[in-house]
Symmetry: C2
């Protein structure tokens, strides 16, 4: 069901503003965090912008590896998104369940062009390489990246368009605050 998305259409995976999970890996350490603050930045080559707070363990792994994956989760995973978003990767490292993938039982599969693991049961994946812009990284926690590979679950994204009509449980989720979400709703064309 997972099909590759042509790079010129990768922006459409994020264009409607879903909350995403950022996965990262460096030197055998890996982590995943939730991020509502993401957006496309360019069409081709596709670029994206995302906010990653200085205090996160993910930030450390992204800065060390120069890459990360954006995983687009779905309604069936909302609980996981909240767990991932409200836990600290650095704290987990000190415990026996030493990362979020183990702690929350999140199976992953390999990315094609970067080290970061991709989360199973998500509905789209964008593999990203950081475009170094130290000033805005330091000042605003803002990271720019080029999307080097993209995939999506063909049950809900094909031919460059989302189609959730028969899969309510696979709809993207859009966080507001404190565990309050909205699922994406009805499609229409003007």
């Amino acid at each position: 069901m997972i099909k590759s998305v042509e790079l010129s259409k990768a922006y459409r995976l994020l264009n409607h503003g879903p909350t995403v999970l950022i996965s990262s890996r460096h030197a055998g350490k890996h982590n995943v965090m939730a991020a509502a603050w993401n957006m496309p930045l360019d069409f081709e080559p596709p670029k994206i912008a995302i906010v990653v707070d200085k205090n996160t363990y993910t930030r450390e792994l992204i800065e060390a590896s120069g890459s990360f994956a954006i995983n687009v989760p779905c309604r069936a995973q909302a609980e996981v998104v909240v767990k991932v978003g409200s836990s600290n990767g650095r704290e987990l490292l000190k415990k026996e369940a030493n990362n979020k993938f183990l702690a929350f039982d999140l199976p992953t599969f390999a990315a094609s062009k970067i080290e970061a693991p991709l989360l199973e049961s998500c509905i789209a994946w964008l593999e990203c390489k950081v475009i170094a812009e130290p000033h805005i990284q330091d000042t605003y926690d803002l990271f720019l990246a080029e999307v080097v590979a993209a995939q999506a679950d063909s049950r809900v994204f094909s031919d460059g368009h989302w189609h959730f009509e028969e899969h309510d449980e696979l709809r993207t989720i859009h966080h507001i605050a404190g565990g309050s979400f909205m699922a994406i709703g009805e499609a229409f064309k003007i």
Copy 2:
């Protein structure tokens, strides 16, 4: 129905990724464009990031005035969003209907802290002052701004939360490509 939104909660107007309209004014000239590529950047003082292409007339007005407004349109306005998004403010200037507000009959009201006009019938408004970052403006068409005032239609946003249940026509709209949209859907809490 229009109530002011406290600045610490202004990010919640954009957190779920709606497509917005950017209005601007400088020296008696004004314009409005559609923009799906926007996101919150910080909580307090609230900051946002938005992509404004070099070729747009809006870009010229934003760079000259140092400010702009983000207007969050609703489903009832989807046709207007497409018209605004597919027309060119510079071309309209040459014609009798010399701006998009006149050409598309878009009534406006005054902002409180910036020059840009705010569009009636939208459901939220963020008044923004550009944070000058010439390198990323030039290289990526990326603008950062501080939100200096925010308002929302209290029928659908109050106490820091959206509530669209009784107002389908006021739901935010989320553009994918070429006139294909999705409205925001069901709310849920984890």
